[in-house]
């Protein structure tokens, strides 16, 4: 039983990793918002847009009443529609699975663009 559970966990992790890579690669190839010039910009962009994307995929409404939020919302909506169209398995995920997947996407995007980035200009204090 233990070996089976372990194998099942490993498979689930592999699936999560594979799906995360697909979704992150889509962002990298088709989006620009994750590459704003400074680390603090990127943290805000990733947090807001991927957070909204996760909520929308879960079927929740997001507040887009301010111009700033509307700007994040249009990028999030683009991701949601593209994911649903290009990766139909997204439509079969339950709320918890979406939450886990999108957290993984956020962590990976943060790693690639902020915490693991080799870009020496990210910590510049000025624009």
């Amino acid at each position: 039983v233990s070996a089976g559970t372990s194998a099942g966990t490993a498979t689930a992790e592999a699936v999560l990793a594979e799906r995360t890579e697909l979704l992150v690669d889509f962002i990298m190839k088709n989006c620009l918002w994750q590459f704003h010039s400074r680390a603090w910009d990127r943290e805000r962009q990733n947090e807001r847009i991927l957070g909204m994307t996760s909520s929308l995929l879960q079927g929740q409404d997001v507040d887009h009443s301010t111009p700033e939020d509307r700007c994040y919302w249009v990028d999030a909506l683009y991701l949601v529609e593209s994911y649903r169209e290009q990766y139909p398995w997204v439509n079969d995920l339950d709320v918890e699975e979406i939450r886990t997947l999108m957290q993984s996407v956020k962590d990976r995007t943060d790693h690639l663009t902020i915490t693991g980035s080799l870009n020496a200009e990210l910590t510049d204090k000025h624009y």
């Binding site: 088709n30 910009d41 249009v74 690639l112």
Partner: protein
């Protein structure tokens, strides 16, 4: 980091960290070259200077302005006929080029008097031209000429005149990118907020980082107007000086070239609360999603969809014709700054070409992050390359075509690699749906040009064979295509006009006209 060391640059060991190959399993945390650093002595860089980046890239596309260089006449080289940022006022900013023509005696005795005299002489023949930009150069910066003081005097002597001073001499940064930064900040500090915006629509944007190369801006503005959106200002292609002083009145900054203009967008967000939306005007998919995002921002998504539908139906069959003939062709994408990421994925996904190398002359590491993220595995990424490295890369990668500037482009021709002008274009505009097809047509014509049949013959090896006949482009491009593709009635070659821009200037825009009538 999987650095790539060029054989020709082993004597400049610092160069090694400026090139990487994105190999199997590599990502941005392991494959990123250094960038935006001073050019290493001994490396013959292809970069421009900070003055060039401020004036010739960003300042001069403004159309209703006298643009004056304060310095030796040679600094104005990249102006008349060498830039292609056209305008709808008969290209005033291209036709008239001004320099104070500073000589050795002025370096010794000062050039402020010369500057003032030149400013008056420039204004005198154009009584309707009330706006001027003046650019510092290395020579006049070093002698300490106070351009601001002279500009103030001239403004007092000529009522109604407004002058912008850009203090970005050539040495003020590692490359032209330093000049982009300086003029962005100077403009928002000196000019934004000094003219009250004239708002004529409920949907108002600034279109930023767009320079109207062969009409790109006019193509995009046409889409915006068809959606009922007012473009309050364009920073700066085909842009008006006074419109740019009122940038603070927009609801949204739509940013195209982040490399050259993200600074002003960031500052507009911080100072005026105007959000920044980065878009791509190149490629059907990217352009379509960009229009859709802007439409959604304003709640007029249906108008964006109507444009996407109409334009796609009109131009997609023509893009497909070229895609069939370009698939698998190898491309070196070697532009100046932003096009490596604007184009890297879009040309692969929509034209089928493989990007085997990206480089940037003056981009920052952020541009390389975008470019490397968007290209496929195995691509060679080079920062601030020199001519020998370019030649070595061509020998190694054997691309079918390179997209670059006119100087490295001419070098590539010498080793018989076709080149397209990535900065000024060959037969642009390249933005917009039709523009993207024009780009595909230029790529096709470059790769399959019959001239290469003659160019490859060695005339020193003996008589040229005369019996082989002449092989046309289509004979070459279609030889391996399936019958159904060759005879397709769905796909077709480009059918647009030679001039795809001028006609846009006479268009009517029902949504905007309605607003005008209502007001």
């Amino acid at each position: 980091v999987p650095y790539h060391e060029f054989d020709c640059s082993t004597s400049i060991p610092e160069r090694k960290k400026h090139a990487v190959i994105k190999g199997e399993g590599e990502d941005l945390t392991s494959a990123l070259p250094l960038g935006y650093l001073n050019t290493i002595p001994g490396s013959i860089s292809e970069r421009g200077c900070a003055y060039c980046g401020a004036k010739h890239v960003i300042g001069t596309p403004m159309k209703d302005v006298i643009h004056l260089s304060h310095g030796p006449v040679g600094c104005t080289y990249d102006t008349w006929q060498t830039k292609r940022y056209i305008s709808d006022n008969d290209n005033f900013q291209l036709k008239y080029t001004y320099a104070t023509d500073v000589k050795e005696k002025h370096i010794v005795f000062g050039a402020e008097g010369l500057l003032k005299q030149n400013m008056h002489e420039a204004f005198d023949p154009f009584p309707d031209m009330k706006r001027m930009t003046v650019y510092q150069t290395c020579a006049t910066a070093l002698i300490g000429d106070d351009i601001n003081a002279v500009a103030q005097e001239v403004m007092e002597e000529r009522p109604g005149v407004d002058i912008f001073v850009c203090n970005s001499p050539g040495f003020a940064g590692p490359s032209q990118s330093g000049g982009h930064h300086k003029i962005n900040i100077a403009w928002i500090d000196q000019k934004v907020g000094t003219v009250e915006p004239k708002i004529t629509s409920d949907y108002v944007i600034n279109y930023v980082g767009e320079y109207n190369i062969q009409g790109d801006q006019e193509v995009m503005v046409d889409y915006f107007k068809r959606m009922g959106i007012q473009v309050l200002s364009t920073f700066t292609g085909n842009g008006s000086y006074d419109d740019l002083r009122s940038m603070h009145g927009a609801d949204l900054n739509v940013l195209e070239c982040a490399r050259s203009a993200e600074y002003i967008c960031n500052e507009l967000r911080v100072r005026y609360g105007i959000p920044r939306l980065d878009i791509d005007g190149f490629g059907f998919e990217a352009l379509g999603s960009s229009l859709l995002k802007i439409g959604r921002f304003f709640g007029i998504e249906d108008r964006a969809r109507a444009i996407i539908e109409e334009e796609t139906a009109r131009w997609k069959p023509e893009l497909d014709w070229y895609r069939e003939r370009l698939t698998g062709k190898k491309v070196c994408l070697w532009p100046g700054g932003s096009k490596l990421w604007h184009w890297a994925h879009a040309i692969h996904a929509e034209m089928g070409v493989d990007v085997v190398s990206v480089y940037t002359k003056f981009g920052h590491q952020g541009d390389m992050e975008k470019g490397i993220a968007r290209c496929e595995q195995g691509a060679l990424a080079i920062d601030d390359p020199n001519e020998l490295e370019g030649l070595e890369a061509l020998e190694m990668l054997k691309p079918d075509v390179i997209f670059t500037g006119k100087r490295p482009g001419e070098v590539a021709k010498k080793v018989r690699t076709p080149y397209l002008n990535a900065h000024a274009y060959h037969n642009g505009p390249y933005k917009g749906f039709e523009g993207w097809v024009r780009f595909a047509r230029d790529i096709y014509n470059a790769i399959y040009s019959p001239i290469h049949q003659l160019g490859g013959l060695d005339i020193s090896a003996g008589p040229i064979p005369e019996s082989g006949g002449f092989v046309t482009r289509k004979m070459m491009s279609d030889i391996n295509l399936p019958e159904e593709v060759r005879r397709s009635t769905q796909m077709r070659e480009y059918t647009g006009k030679y001039d795809s821009v001028s006609g846009l200037r006479d268009r009517e825009y029902p949504y905007l006209d309605e607003l005008k009538a209502a007001s």
